[in-house]
């Protein structure tokens, strides 16, 4: 490899190493789901009708709590300790978790829920 190319490669690696240290706090594990697809799904399922969700077009609903910073929340639905797995459970079957909740069962599959959670967990 030519010296200039090697130099560029090393700088690139150093930059990645530095950036990897940023963003303290919970993240869904890598390959938990497809965050890009999750963002689209959140729009398609109309989640934004009730929730303000950063990065999702027209998601500015105020009926439910805003979803920014979701990964830092301690509880979901006021009762489930927050984790990626519990977030999936909450999205797939909220009525099972909290009967009578204003959040309806929307027929979200587990796979789609994982994608949504992967996106939501990127929200600081």
């Amino acid at each position: 490899m030519k010296p200039e190319a090697l130099c560029r490669r090393l700088v690139g690696l150093a930059a990645m190493a530095l950036l990897a240290g940023c963003g303290a706090g919970a993240q869904a594990p890598p390959a938990f789901g497809d965050a890009d697809n999750g963002r689209l799904l959140l729009r398609q399922f109309g989640c934004g009708h009730c929730h303000r969700i950063p990065g999702v077009a027209t998601a500015d609903g105020k009926a439910g709590p805003p979803l920014e910073g979701l990964s830092r929340r301690s509880y979901l639905g006021g009762r489930l300790p927050n984790s990626p797995e519990h977030a999936v459970r909450w999205i797939v079957a909220p009525q099972g978790v909290k009967p009578g909740s204003a959040m309806p069962d929307l027929g979200v599959t587990e796979t789609h829920a994982r994608d949504m959670v992967a996106y939501l967990y990127t929200l600081r």
Binding site: A63, G64, P65, R73, S74, Y75, G78, S101, A102
Partner: protein, 272 residues
């Protein structure tokens, strides 16, 4: 002109230096590391002067009434002894490790004015373990405590032991809830129920602790806790008995009385 620039530059450098020291975490915040004596003195004098100024305008009612003193003893045993101890009685173990350490109230009662004692009991002291009792004691009880404190220096340890042996009871009658809802009072009530330890709440400075959902936009939330239609009555109900509304909720019953709940709901109704 040069002089102004030089002074401004020096001040800016000082501020930057102070910020760097703060950020570096050099200052030892532990309760086991004691203040330097001058620091302690500064804080003590500052506290005292703040209280003296604010207590000056307070009118003190007659305090020599035996029933008032007796009522004060009940409150004292229920709320004060755990941190401050009593003649011949140690504070609870947790209070022995506090910085600043809770004062011995016999000495306090001998050296402070009744209005000042009332002020501290009612409003508490920032950055200490001394809470504000304003929302937890009716006005009469606040003065009853002061009345008892006036008596305290005259009690020997055996006198106090005799008094404390008598059974005590709590007066838990809520203040009447017929005043119109007061959003300003509600904001203070929210602060005084530690809501900010779990919720980020616009207008209230706190740790932004995201245990529960943020309360911004609460006025336009369709449901309270996802379960109750968002009406003032339901919000009062939720604030007063969340565990009855949602038994598995992480939100605890906090003993919020009717009036405080109505005022809190009035404040939350301003959050759009």
């Amino acid at each position: 002109m040069k002089k102004i620039v030089a002074v401004a530059g020096a001040l800016a450098a000082l501020a930057a230096g102070a910020a760097a020291v703060l950020w570096a975490g050099v200052y030892d915040i532990s309760a086991t590391d004691q203040h330097l004596a001058p620091t302690y003195k500064l804080l003590d004098v500052g506290m005292r002067r703040s209280i003296v100024r604010r207590a000056a305008a307070i009118a003190v009612p007659p305090l020599a009434d035996e029933r008032l003193v007796a009522r004060g003893l009940v409150q004292f045993r229920a709320h004060c002894v755990a941190c401050h101890g009593a003649p011949g009685v140690a504070p609870e173990p947790f209070a022995l490790g506090m910085t600043p350490v809770p004062a011995n109230l016999v000495h306090t009662a001998r050296t402070w004015q009744p209005a000042e004692l009332y002020w501290v009991v009612k409003y508490g002291l920032k950055m200490t373990g001394m809470p504000a009792w304003q929302f937890r004691m009716p006005e009469d009880d606040l003065w009853a405590v002061v009345a008892f404190l006036q008596r305290l220096p005259r009690l020997s340890p055996s006198d106090y032991r005799v008094l404390a042996a008598a059974p005590s009871h709590r007066d838990d009658e809520s203040p009447p809830a017929d005043a119109p809802p007061d959003a300003d009072r509600g904001r203070v009530a929210i602060e005084q129920h530690a809501c900010v330890t779990c919720h980020r709440i616009p207008g209230i400075v706190g740790p932004d602790s995201p245990v529960g959902p943020p309360l911004e936009g609460m006025a336009e939330r369709a449901a309270i806790a996802g379960l109750l239609p968002n009406t003032p009555e339901n919000l009062v109900r939720w604030l007063r008995e969340p565990q009855q509304v949602h038994p598995a909720s992480a939100m605890p019953d906090l003993g919020v009385d009717e009036r405080d709940a109505r005022d809190m709901a009035a404040y939350l109704a301003t959050l759009r």
